[in-house]
Amino acid sequence: MIRSDKIVKDSLFGFLLILPSLLLLMLLVVFPVGYVLYLSTLNFDTLIPNFVGLRNYTELLFNDQFFWIFLGHSMEYVFFAICSAFVVALLVALSLNTINKFQGTLRTFALWCWAVPPVIASLMWKWILNDTNGVLNDMLLKAGIIHQQVAWLALSKGTMFILSQVHAWTIIPFIMVILLAGLQSIPLELYEVASIDGANGLQKFRLITYPLLRTAVLTSVMLASIFAFRHIDIVFTLTKGGPGEATEMLVTYLYDNAFAYMKIGYAAALSVIMVFISMLIVLVLVKLIRPNESQ
């Protein structure tokens, strides 16, 4: 029989072991979150910031004409970026999972664009998409797909879609790696049995691959969506929110308020709201993708 004072001693010892991590967590997570919440209740227009309660939040949600417009732009960006990236990443992952030759080399190639720092990738795409000297226009013209140079970053409608596709390019490897790991955890016997039962490729994917891959899909899409929602490098380098406000998003609005307009309290409130929106995105994705018990 284990004595109760030994249990207490053991749990205290366990607590002491995790204490450094807890302290670090508090320093890196709890304190900044608390501080941002505090900042969001201040107005920094004056030399000494003054307390304004929830005014920054109400101003944003009810009086700021741009907040809802830019939220829509952010959602558009996340949606198109993730959809495109997911489809391509899934195809690449399925291919890499099937191909047996040169596996290592092919996987390295597939990860290549992930290794490019976001700012460098953005600058690279800025030149690719340049209307007069860009390689994209050159290729499309030579292929006869377009007949006039297109100003990809100055379209009345569609520039946001272009930016989202640049983002998609940068995150395909991230999604692909998670999906590939998920694919490799599916027992091959299931496919063998399905083959014996006469299932074709599509049926195997629908009835075996996708149901067993749902956890990996959820993880990759969830993380990629949150990353996309707070991603600033691409829009900042390519369009700076233009033309007009066509590619202005919550994250650029946050940057402007915090660092260009010095409205730190307002920006802090916006960042808190963005955290809640991210949580909402996660909830929706979990509801849509999470495998149910029977599966």
């Binding site: 508090m26 709890v30 304190f31 979150v33 608390g34 501080y35 919440l37 505090y38 900042l39 201040l42 920094f44 030399l47 000494i48 910031p49 307390f51 340049n130 209307d131 007069t132 000297n133 013209l141 007949h147 006039q148 140079q149 100003a151 990809w152 970053l153 100055a154 009345s156 900042f236 390519l238 369009t239 700076k240 929110g241 233009g242 033309p243 007009g244 406000e245 202005e248 940057y255 402007d256 915090a258 660092f259 260009a260 307009y261 010095m262 730190i264």
Partner: protein, 464 residues
Amino acid sequence: MAKRVLLVVLICLMGITMVYAGGQKEGGAEDSGAAVAAYDASAVKWSPNQERVVRKDYKLPEGALEAIKAEGSKEIVVYNWGDLSWDPATLLNGSMFTRLTEVGVQFVGTPDEQMTPKLQPLFMAKSDAVDIVPLDETNYANYVSRGWLMEVDFMWDEATMSEYHSGLHSTVLDGHYYSVPQVGRIIDVLYYRPSMLKAAGYDGPPETWEELIEMAQALTIDKNNDGQIDQWGFVFKGGGVLDGAQLIKAKSLLLGVNPDDVDGKVKFNTPETIRVVQLLSDLRNKYKVVPPGVTAYQHGDIADFFLSGNVAIVVDPTYLYARCMESSLADDFDVALQPVAYKGGPRTQIQHWNGWGLSNFSKNKTAGLIYMDVYRSYRGQVNEFAIENNEVFLKKAYEDPQSKLVGYNDVLAQINDTVVDIYEGQGEVYKAVIAEFQKALMGQKTAEQAMNDAQGRIDKILGY
């Protein structure tokens, strides 16, 4: 149960943080005031400032070395716009400061977009991790109004100010000085390709807007008749907040109106400014002499475009000159003043001000002030112009033999009227202007609608 307890603990901790942060803030304000009061400028004999700044060989003010020694300064931290490899004059001026004071300089090269995100937390934390702060129109007034920069009235007087271009008066905020000039770039100089102009039958660059339109049309060419433009007549910066807004402002100045100062107010919907926006929209949409993607062209893009060799005329800051000289275009480009609106029209130019300020939280205040003094002096300013080809505010700097070697010195000599405008909220105002301007460029709004909408936003921002 355990999860609930953990959640309650976390919420409590956040609450404690907020209360703690609130307490710190109140105390901090007092600390800040104390830090400002602590500096005694009388330890150094700053006067006469005028004599010192125009001396060809800079001499430290009396008492400076003793004050630095008493302060215990060994090194100052200077933030710099961009990487130092682009700024040899800054390094040289830093070395000059170190030679004179035996205080080292630690430069922190920071990309433009990251400057405020890096400095702001340091200021808010009242950190002494930065001594000298780089300034421009977008951050200066904001930093001053928050009490982050030290007042340096003792470094200035009217006689000293008169040695610099008049635009520098705009850096005096509420009657006080908080900075010294670093450089003051002329942002609008015309670069053109003589060979392209000659091929189109022109002997020289356009001198008026009318000529510019005509020449740009003649110089926009589809060389192989494949329906694609191979050579553009003209290109301008329609993207980037400061770039775009200053483009409109620069052209408005040529019509005799400064949108940043119309009877003391910021006004971007005067008939003159609307005319400018109309002209720029027409260049893109009616005459089709600029690439349609100009709304995405920011500073640097124009230079790259010109150097790529398929544009005949651009208007860009003087820093493009050095790049051209190092490129394959070295023998086929020339510089002129940008075209005036009409014959005999004003030639007022924007000078893009960059300055240095001293952090209120610095522990090396005397050393920092001497760094600023060295930089604004004759030698410091000559270095900037002669080595980096950055225009400066000190008028005498252009008379130095080294400065006279700069290839476009004769063009600068024709400029006699420059403006610098600085006010709080300028960044937000310019953002509104560029957003509406781009809508006009895209044909989504008329020039008048766009500028009226921009003005509506400006009125709200500035509380008119």
